[in-house]
Every structure is written in C-alpha cells, then in structure tokens.
Amino acid sequence: MDLHVLWFGLLGVLLTGYAVLDGFDLGVGILHPFVRGDRERRLVLNSIGPLWDGNEVWLVTFGGALFSAFPEAYATVLSGFYLPVIVVLLSLIGRAISIEFRGKSHSKFWRGYWDFSFFLSSLTATLVFGVALGNVVGGIALSPQGHYVGGLAGLFQPFALAVGLLAVAGAAMHAALYLQLKLEGELRRTVERWAWRAFFAFVALNLVVAAIALRSVPHLLVNFERWPVIWVMPVLVVLALANIPRSLVRERPWQAFASSCASIAGLTFLAAAALYPNLVVSSSSAPSLDIWRAASSESTLRLMAIIAMIGMPLVAAYTITVYWVFRGKVKLDEHSY
C-alpha cells in the first residue's frame, strides 16, 4: 500500500476521532450558558469533567502526525491561517482554564466569568475549526511553492463560513444527545428539547453547505465521479441523521447518540473523500498541495506507521478504560469541578 495514502487515511482517523469525541465536549461548552442554576451547570460541566482532556489529545496527536507526515501542509496551513490559529490556541487555553478553575471559588462573579469564558472559547474554537476545514477543502490561494498567499481576508469565503456554522450546530446537537445520557430528571428533559432544536439547525445547515458546494465548489464532486461508490456515504449520513429523531421519539438515547457519532464521522469522511488526494486545495492556477508533494520521506512515513501501529491499540485501550471507569450518570462529589 502507498504509504502516502495510508497516512492520509490515518490522519482522517485522527480527525474523525477528534470530531466525534471533542465534538461533544466543545458542544457542552456551547450549551452551557443556557443551563439555569449553579448545581445544574456543575452537573453539565462534570459530564465531560474526566473526559475532555483526553479528547483534546486527539487534536494534539493529529497536529504531531500532520507535522511529521506532511510537513508542507502543516507549515502552509498554520502560517497561512495565522490569526485564526492564534485565536483557536487562545480559545483552547481559555477553555481548559475555565473548566479547571470555575469551581475553585463560590463567588458569583468568579463563576459567571468562567462560565462566559467557557462558552466563548468553546464557540470560537468550534467555529474556527469549521471555517479552517471549509477553506482547506473549498480551496485557497496558493503560490507555486505551495505557500498560502490569500491573506486574512481570503479566508472569509461563503462555503468556509457555512462549514463553520455547521460545525457549531453539529457540536451543539452532539452535546445535547450526549448530555441526555449523563443527566437525569428535569434537566434531561431540557437538553432533549435542545437536541431537537440543534438537530433541525444542523440539518438545515447541511442543506446550505451542500447547496453552496454544488453551486460554487465543483471540484468537490470530482472524486464522486471517479469512484461513484462514495455516494454510499452521503446516503449513510442521511440515514444516520434520520435515525436521530426516530430514536428520540422512541426514547432510545444511546441510539440517538450513536447516530450522531455516525453522522459526524460520516461528514468528516465525506470531507476527506472530497479532498483526496489533496491536503490543501488550490484555488489559484498553482497546483494543490497533495499527499505526495507535501509528504516527508518514505522512510519517515514507514517509521511513523510503525509508531502508529504500536500506539493506536494503546490509545484505544486507554480511551475505553477511562470511558468505562466514568460510565453512567454524573454525580457530583468532592473531586468534581
């Protein structure tokens, strides 16, 4: 197997893992200010308490893997999207601190401040992730050397902005469905109502993104013409999405959450399928940055594949262990945030 393709796939797995796992904890941050009452807010926050940090490691590992496997893409995207990346970094720092420090004082001002910062940083990070993905897939102005030359203004494209909003709605829906599993009583009924609203927003934005894509980003369909079998994926995404209201009505929260995971994973896969074999699509006359041009040497890709083969089962083992230890409804105790 071509190692370049393998690494494209592995990065896709890491990104999907990140979207599915950190998706719900970013979403919890977006929903958090709508929760009334301090005890309720703590319950919501502690539903991700032991998990958010591990979820974020998927992003860190994605970053490291991108750096080592495709340094050209890593350098182009991060230096090209300079200020947005800085905003994401500041948001991730602010988010971690808000979660960690919110509970350290009983002062109303203190908690109000961290609640606001938790919400804002979660929202900003999700939005910018979406916009960045939209730009990479939709195409940006590259120089012949593969450097980004479009400037800050070049990132505000309708397609990218729509993907950003889609990410926010998706995270909110994913989080509401997750919270359903972790909460009880009145609070659980409240998040169920939010799940419905976020679901409709998510579906609507999916249609908007699809419409813009069909109208103004034709290159996204090239791979679908080459390999028509990929059309199975959008169909599966639609089925997974349709299963969410069905499971909600039948009161099967696990199925609803699983369907949400499947739809987010499916959308990430769709983005990757449209992108392949590029990593950054060029909207100028210069060629796109593809998985051969952007890659490290063959021997490094092979070495990294060995590291991944040893590491991935370990990662799966830790992740399952932690989710197992912290299964069930949230309970506040002396160790909670």
């Binding site: 080592s68 350098a75 300079y82 500041l90 800050l152 230890v325 002396e334």
Partner: protein
C-alpha cells in the same frame, strides 16, 4: 513603526515557551513525589500518606491543566511562526513530536482522569497504577521533546535532501536521531531539574505550615519525603551538569565559550569565571572573579590544555554572550545553593533539629523560586547559546521564520498571549494559594468521607475547609 519579523517571532516563541515551562517541570517533579507518597501508603497503610497524596494531587491537577493548555499552543507554533523551520525539520522533529502525542499525552490524560476523579471509582492498587502512569506519561513527554530539541543542538542520523527545490533534513537512522550526542545528557538534566522543583515546591508549602503550626504531622512527613528527593536530585544535577559541560566543549564549543565569557583562545589553561559581566566590545569579562586554569581542568582533566574561545568562529556564527553568560551563571549558582540547603537540612534532620530551625524553614518557604528561576535560566542558556542557528550548523534562525506572516499579526499575537498569560498566572497563583490556605484533610476525616452521591459536600468545599468561602486575595493567614 519598523517591525522585525524574526525578532518578533523569537520574542513570541520565548514568551510562550518560557511561560509554558513554568508548569511541566512541576508536574514531573510533583508526580514523582506523589508516586513515592502513594507507594508508601500502600506499603505502610499509614493514612497520613493517603492524605498527602490527595492534597498534592489537587495541586498537581491545577498545575497540569495549565501545562497542557499552554503546551497545545507550543505544538502549533512551529507551524504558525516557523514555517520554513517546519518544512526543514518536519521529517525529523515531527516524528518525535508525534511519538510524544501518541505515547505520552494519551497515557497522561487518560490516567489523569482516574488519578484526579477516580478515588472512589477504582481500588487503591488501580489508583496507584494510574498515578505511576501519569508520572511516566509526563516523563515520556519530556523524553520526546528533549530528544527533538537536542537534535536541533546536535543533529544526527539525518541527511540533507532537496525537496520541492528547498533543502530539508530527512531521517536516515531513527535511533541515531533519538540517541543524538546531547539528548541523554540533556534529558537527565531536565528531569533532575524537574525533581528539584517538585521537591522545593513541597518543602516550601510544608515549611509554611510548620511555621504556622498547621497540619504539622502532614507537613513533617511531606517535607521529609521531598527533602530526600531534593537532596539526591541536587547532587545528581551537579554530576549531570558537569558531564553535560564536557560534552558541550566537544559538540558546541561556541556555546560553551559564550557560557563562560571566553573570548580569546590562549596557549595555556583557561580560567573559569565565578561571576562577572561580559564586555563584548572589549572582548573581556568585567567586575569578575576567575579561578585560573579551572575550566581546562573541568573540561579536559588537564590544567594546561586551552579551551576553544569565540575568536575561533567567524563573527556571523558567534552566539550572543551576555544573556547566555548571565543565565548560565545564575543557573549554576542556584544549583550550588540547592545542594547547600538540602545538605544542611539533611544533617539537621538527622540530628532531629530540623523542624525547630525557623530561619531555615523560612528560607525554604522562599527557596521555591530558585528552581523555577534555574529551570528557566538553563533553557535560556541552551537556546540563546545555540544562536544564530535554529538547527546547529544547518539552519539559521533568520531563515526559519514564516516569511509570509505580516509582522503586525505577530505583534498582535504577542500582545494577546501576553495579556492572557498574565491573567492566567494571576488566577493560577490565586487558586494554588486557596488550596494551600485550605490545607489537607485530617486523616480521621478521610474514612468518613462520603463515597456515594456526595451532593452535600460540594466540590470546592471539600475536606477541611467546608463552608469557608474566603475569596480575598489578601487573606492568606
């Protein structure tokens, strides 16, 4: 305004990496102490050790969170500000970073959840296992990042290849890259420096409790464990530093010359400056005191063999001298102080008089600043001493930046990081201060702690400080 992209990017990296490095060494050092304390609890069954583990774990958790958050920024900053560097080293540096992510970070963050939140959810042995794994994870993290950084100082196991019209480094021998000439020396030095910080941190807070006659049994035991670790690590750091300096004379002679303020190569043994101020214009050290021929002896075991000075390097390859000289001497001086303090404390402890020496306890309260400063000073020496290279002998710092990024945007990012970090530091100090003020639980309350739905014992009010709000910065008892 005329903004220099390279200098701004360097300033931004210095700000973010130095701020980040306030936290990981404490995580590593405190992690080791927690492993020892919890191990002692499992061995002896003494509930005081369980109290100790729990208290230090709380401080560890707050520290760890800030370390992780500021570390994420570091990982992406290679790409944002140093795109040319990233393209040059991605093949080599990236693999170490990816290995760090997959082996270290997942291990740490996974078991951290069990360590902090899992007291009532897993058995004591599984909990101890988690503590060990978190410590190992943070150590692995140091291993990989120090390997990657050391490769920048002493590149090995690579070749230069043209890719897309630009030269870049590619790995030819992974293990030669991992065990490059400076990596193990530097790793040992970094880890011991972290253990010293962990030990002095615990000793500082314990001494504070002893001076205020609070939690005395807890404080004595914590102090004793930390003292033993601190003394061993301080002596070990001397050995490590010595061997590192000898390797430096061979690997990066210009850097050693900058550390020592050694401008002109002589034909006899080289002196060692105990202190002074390098005068670059006049090529000499002012206001200083030197031991003749000492540097030659320390480096070569030979009083007469001259050490290479800066004059043997072309002017454009010479590092700056003032910053490395000062930071290096601060680090070494502090290292000697740690050896002196811990050795004295050990002797007094042996004679059973340690905890009545109030002046020494006060000295230990303040001394925690020393290892913080020494860790920073050591890295400043290492990194500024490597200039003008970002990868020694291969890539100049000035060629490594993201040339496409407008300098104004870098300035904006410096201001934004600066403001956020100042606020963060203030909050961190406040939170740590609150935890110290509240203090550990008493051992007898531990057995009675509710393990079920402890809704009444709301979070922050845990343990001894139930119901005591206390939001004042000034109220430090």
């Amino acid at each position: 305004m005329d903004l220099d992209l390279v200098e701004l990017s360097r300033a931004q990296f210095a700000l973010t990496v130095m701020f980040h490095y306030l936290f990981p060494p404490l995580s590593i050092g405190l992690g080791l102490l927690m492993v020892i304390m919890e191990g002692l609890f499992l061995r002896t069954g003494d509930p005081q050790y369980a109290v100790m583990t729990r208290f230090w774990t709380r401080i560890f958790a707050a520290n760890f969170a800030v370390g992780v958050a500021t570390g994420i920024a570091m990982e992406f900053q290679f790409g944002t500000n140093w795109a040319a560097y990233s393209r040059f080293v991605g093949d080599v540096f990236g693999s170490a970073l990816a290995a760090e992510g997959i082996f270290a970070f997942f291990l740490e963050s996974g078991f951290l959840a069990v360590l902090v939140f899992g007291w009532d959810r897993v058995g004591p042995r599984m909990h101890f296992f988690s503590t060990v794994m978190v410590f190992l994870g943070s150590t692995f993290s140091a291993v990989w990042i120090v390997i990657a950084n050391s490769w920048q100082h002493t590149p090995a196991g690579y070749r230069l290849v043209e890719h897309e019209g630009v030269l870049r480094a590619e790995i030819t021998d992974f293990w030669a890259m991992v065990f490059n000439p400076s990596s193990m020396h530097r790793l040992g030095h970094v880890l011991l420096g972290s253990f010293i910080l962990g030990a002095f941190f615990v000793m500082s807070i314990s001494a504070w409790y002893l001076l205020h006659r609070r939690h005395e049994a807890f404080a004595r035991k914590s102090f004793a464990v930390a003292l033993v670790v601190g003394a061993l690590a301080s002596w070990g750091e001397l050995v490590s530093g010595h061997s590192q300096a000898r390797a430096l004379a061979h690997n990066q002679p210009a850097k050693l010359a900058a550390f020592e303020g050694h401008f002109v190569t002589a034909d006899h043994g080289t002196e060692m400056w105990l202190f002074g101020w390098p005068n670059v214009d006049e090529q000499r050290v002012d206001y200083g005191l030197a031991i003749p021929k000492m540097l030659s002896f320390l480096v070569y075991d030979d009083f007469e063999r001259p050490v290479t000075a800066l004059d043997r390097f072309p002017a454009r390859d010479r590092p700056p001298v003032v910053v490395p000289f000062v930071s290096y001497h601060v680090m070494v001086g502090l290292g000697m102080l740690f050896i002196g303090m811990t050795s004295l404390a050990l002797v007094l402890w042996w004679r059973g008089r340690l905890f009545s020496q109030r002046w020494l306890l006060w000295a230990f309260v303040v001394a925690v600043l020393g290892p913080y400063l020494a860790n920073q000073a050591g890295w400043v020496s290492a990194e500024v001493g490597r200039q003008p290279w970002v990868v020694y002998g291969l890539l100049r710092t000035s060629d490594a930046v993201s040339a496409m990024v407008p300098p104004e945007q870098v300035l904006i990012s410096i201001i934004a990081f600066g403001v956020l970090y100042l606020a963060l530091l203030a909050v961190w100090l406040y939170v740590i201060n609150e935890k110290i003020r509240r203090g550990p639980q008493e051992p007898e309350s531990l057995g009675a702690a509710p393990s079920g739905p402890g809704e009444s014992l709301v979070g922050a009010a845990a343990g001894a400080g139930v119901g005591r709000g206390g939001h004042s910065y000034t109220e430090t008892e």
